[in-house]
Amino acid sequence: MATPMGYDGVVLAVPVTVPYTRYSPESAQWWLGRALAGLAAGAGVPHPAFDGLSVASFSMAPDSAIGLTQHFGLSPRFVDFVPLGGVAGMVAVRRAARAVQAGDADMVACIAADTNAPQSFRQSLENFSRFSQDAVYPYGAGGPNVSFALIAQAYMEASGLSRAHCGKIAVAQRDNALKNPHALMKKPLSLDDYLGSRPIAPPIHLFDCVLPCAGAEAFLILREETARAQGLPFVRLTAAIERHNAFPADPVMLRGGWARDIDTLWSMAGIGPDAIDLVQTYDDYPFISAMQFEDLGLCPKGGLAEFIAGHDFTVTGSLPHNTSGGQLSSGQAGCAGGHLGIVEAIRQLTGAAGPRQVAGARRALVSGFGMINFDRGLGSGAMVLEAA
Amino acid sequence: MTDVLQMLSGALASGAVRVVDLTHTLTEDFPTIVVPPEFAPSAPVRIERISRYDAAGPAWYWNNLSFGEHTGTHFDAPAHWFTGRDQPRGTVDTLPPEHMIAPVCVIDCSAESARDDDFLLTRAALDAWENAHGRIPAGAWVLMRTDWSQRKGAAFANLRADGAHTPGPDAEAIHWLVHERGILGFGTETIGTDAGQCDHFDPPFPAHHYLHGAGRYGLQCLTNLHLLPPKGALVMAAPLKVHAGSGSPLRVLALVPEQGEKP
């Protein structure tokens, strides 16, 4: 496999979060529009100046991205639609980065948004995938909880990860979320709360689960010179990987696709995991974050228990992790969950994270994971961002 | 002659003449004649609703009615039996209307039939009846009272492994009634003018054989025969005018003088 060309000159800027709500009567298009307006305001340009549009959403049917160009008065020369859930952010960035690097576009608005009505979670489950329709929903396993419980049971047994370890991750994220005004979860969470929460599908319990909500996340991808010309604070993209259906022969998912491309990631970034100041993992469940710690090389395979015990994951800790509170405490706004970590990393690396700012943050590792099509999450990706 | 009808009207109005209904209600579960299954059976009575003030007909009630010609209280025309096939006016549509009203003699065999399911009406019994009530007039109906009509369902059909066990006339008796007394027809309370075991008689089905062979009629599944005097009543039996029909369910009415009255 060829070593990919670097992302030299590609930067990310203008982190936008449209504040989440548990339920919304508005459509996904409404949320996408708010995010686009936020990008224009943040960039200080009229929105038609965006000549690239990348959209991730599950709930914007019957539209696809191209319909939005007319809807929002855009005339882009690059358009992308990535309804890929938790890995959408990684995929969107890699494609947009190459487009701006090659001059196919100057400024790509990367937006992820989903709305959420009381019935929409169930409805989106019912239409998620052909394989799920045929071989998951009929088993009472609609929604990811049961499928992840089956993975979690096997993974926790194989890795020595305990519920208390998962609890430590969740509790630290809640601690971080309390410093994030956008986070939906406002009450502190103790380890006892976590351990005592009711079973959803053992070993998955209530505080292992995200709260589905409505919301949007967005940022711009552009060349460094464009950002400088606009006077925008930016972060550099130094490495990015993605991989789908990485280990089809593994009977149960005990590792993600990161494990296959980890060397590429760190060699592109030119640093090792030790040089990272903060990590944003894809946290649909704490045990999946733990899996990323292993697969991204933050801790050695088999060393999870020790690794988790040895770290403080709050914004003031030894390894600040999911500093916005992550999806577990901010909420999961559908596809926006895959962009959440990127937006938060841009804020942290541009010093815009307010009360949850990680002091001296220079390098962030962000990862994504998504699309449990049948028995495992198919998509995985990761990127390294560096402060300017 | 108008006086006769006026007198009848008056007698009906005063109750000096009563109208007795000799008919069973036509129901779906009334037993019908059973033939060996290799022969074609009669269709049962079926009453299927078309509508009853409902979505199928909001303001009206009506049914579809289907049945075999020999179901319920019914009339046998001469053409019903092979011996009557060449009789002129042998089907119900060609039946002379004047035959539809006729005097009736009632032979009470109820006590004997209560004792013996296979009771047979014999020539001797007919002689005894004539000794008591006088000669059976030509052109009269002769009805065999057995009180069988008070039985229900299985007891009425009275089927056993060797067939039905029900009373009826023996061959000699029916032959005598037809040929020596010139009766209009013979009627019973059972399913059939013949006894249940008549297939063993000579000829088989003698009532059918002789009655229809001579152009006479049958009535069966009659009821209320206990309300008739041995002699002196009139029977009105008008089958449906079914094209080339061998018989039909019908309403059978009797005009009965109050006791002591002479019409």
């Binding site: 009929p138 009472g140 396993a141 049961v146 089956l150 009977p251 | 579960d29 269709a43």
Partner: protein, 415 residues
């Protein structure tokens, strides 16, 4: 005497039927067909021989589109398990917790399965392909060495176990009626209503019927609207399994002396009779698909015992074959109607039976006992399509292979 079912609390609303998710790809119905017959089959590539799961449109191994539902090894190993305590789907939410497992099949692929209470991870399993309440083919995993499936309420959701249920058999005069009553009583049926058409005609083995625990006769003549409606009025709400045995077998080709009369009667009993039953019993059964509880389970199945001649015509029984073909068609409509309540419609296609009407049919014929066994076995396994008798199986296999040859054979009187 079997203890009567506890009386229903008249103050409680009858639980309305919900169904598990019913969406299914067209291709996956290849598995539905196998499950309906109780065959274990998995998607298999005809080109490379690899098994796949879930049903693919192209083989993930070689991209061939030659995918069939093929017989497959039914063993598996349990990799992990969980209980869905709060499923999003309303059907499962109402029945939570629901145990599922992730298994590695001996055939290769991984699968999510409905899981018996006993197995723990790394245990060997035996898989069954079953129809769930929505009529979807699903995998059920039980202990490898058998074990009692009937103790599992998840299994019970997918089968039509007569235990505790009240059964209506529509015609006592069918050769299978008495053996059915015996087998159902042995299987724990709470009550057996035995339909008796024209009860003014003798029933030879009446005493033997009367000796069956929990059996009582009810007047029922499928050729009469009134009779069927009256019975539904009396016991419609008490029937959890309906087994329609009404028949009118009479030999005779199209030109036989009594052909029209017998054909009409066969139609009245077999085809129109089924429609009459469906009209009044169908909605009640469908409405009670989720009624009751484990002690007094709700409506679950409707069985139509039909002749295999519904599928292939024996010209010497022209009217009879036509009536059964019509009834098979009605049966499909009824299946759609019952589906809303999750009530299974099972069609039993039988070979000529061992009775007077099929005296001249060649052996092997199906005894009443064997036919009853096939019906009860089908109920216990939750099947939709049952074939009783080697002659019927052979005929259907030949029909699938070469329908014209079967037509010619039957026209020459060769079964």
């Amino acid at each position: 005497m079997t203890p009567r079912r506890p009386r229903k609390n008249p103050l409680r609303r009858t639980r309305q039927p919900l169904l598990p998710p019913a969406a299914c790809s067209r291709k996956a119905h290849l598995l539905t067909a196998a499950a309906a017959e109780g065959r274990f089959a998995l998607p298999r590539c005809g080109a490379c021989g690899a098994y796949a799961w879930p049903m693919p449109e192209a083989c993930p191994n070689c991209l061939s589109i030659d995918i069939t539902a093929a017989d497959a090894p039914s063993g598996a190993v349990l990799m992990s398990e969980t209980r869905a305590e709060v499923p999003a789907d309303p059907y499962f939410r109402e029945r939570a917790p629901w145990r599922v497992g992730l298994v590695q099949m001996d055939a290769g692929p991984m699968a999510l399965v409905h899981l018996h209470p006993a197995p723990v991870p790394r245990d060997r399993l035996r898989l069954t392909l079953m129809l769930d309440r929505a009529g979807q083919a699903v995998l059920y995993a039980g202990p490898e060495n058998g074990g009692d499936m009937t103790i599992d309420r998840q299994w019970q959701e997918m089968v039509a176990d007569p235990r505790g249920r009240r059964v209506l058999i529509t015609d006592a005069r069918h050769v299978a009626a008495l053996p059915l009553a015996h087998k159902l009583a042995a299987a724990g049926a709470a009550e057996i209503f035995m339909g008796l058409p024209e009860d003014w005609k003798p029933l030879e083995n009446r005493a033997e019927f009367a000796a069956v625990p929990g059996l009582r006769f009810v007047a029922l003549d499928l050729s009469s609207d009134r009779s069927v409606e009256d019975l539904a009025r009396a016991i419609g709400g008490k029937v959890e399994i309906l087994i329609n045995t009404a028949d009118h077998p009479r030999p005779g080709g199209l030109s036989a002396p009594a052909a029209a009369t017998h054909a009409r009667m066969a139609m009245e009993v077999v085809a129109f009779g089924l429609m009459r039953l469906a009209r009044v019993f169908g909605p009640v059964l469908a409405g009670r698909g989720a009624d009751g509880d484990e002690n007094a389970p709700g409506a679950v199945a409707w069985v139509n015992v039909l002749s295999v001649f519904a599928r292939a015509t024996a010209p010497e029984m022209a009217g009879y074959c036509a009536a059964h073909a019509a009834a098979l068609s009605v049966s499909h409509s009824l299946r759609a109607q019952l589906a809303g309540g999750g009530v299974r419609l099972m069609t039993v296609l039988t070979a000529p039976t061992e009775d007077a009407w099929f005296q001249l049919a060649p052996q092997p014929k199906v005894t009443g006992k064997a036919l009853a066994g096939a019906v009860v076995d089908g109920l216990m396994r939750g099947l939709e399509e049952v074939v009783a008798g080697d002659v019927a199986r052979d005929l259907l296999a030949r029909l699938a292979d070469n329908p014209k040859a079967v037509e010619r054979d039957l026209s020459q009187g060769k079964l």
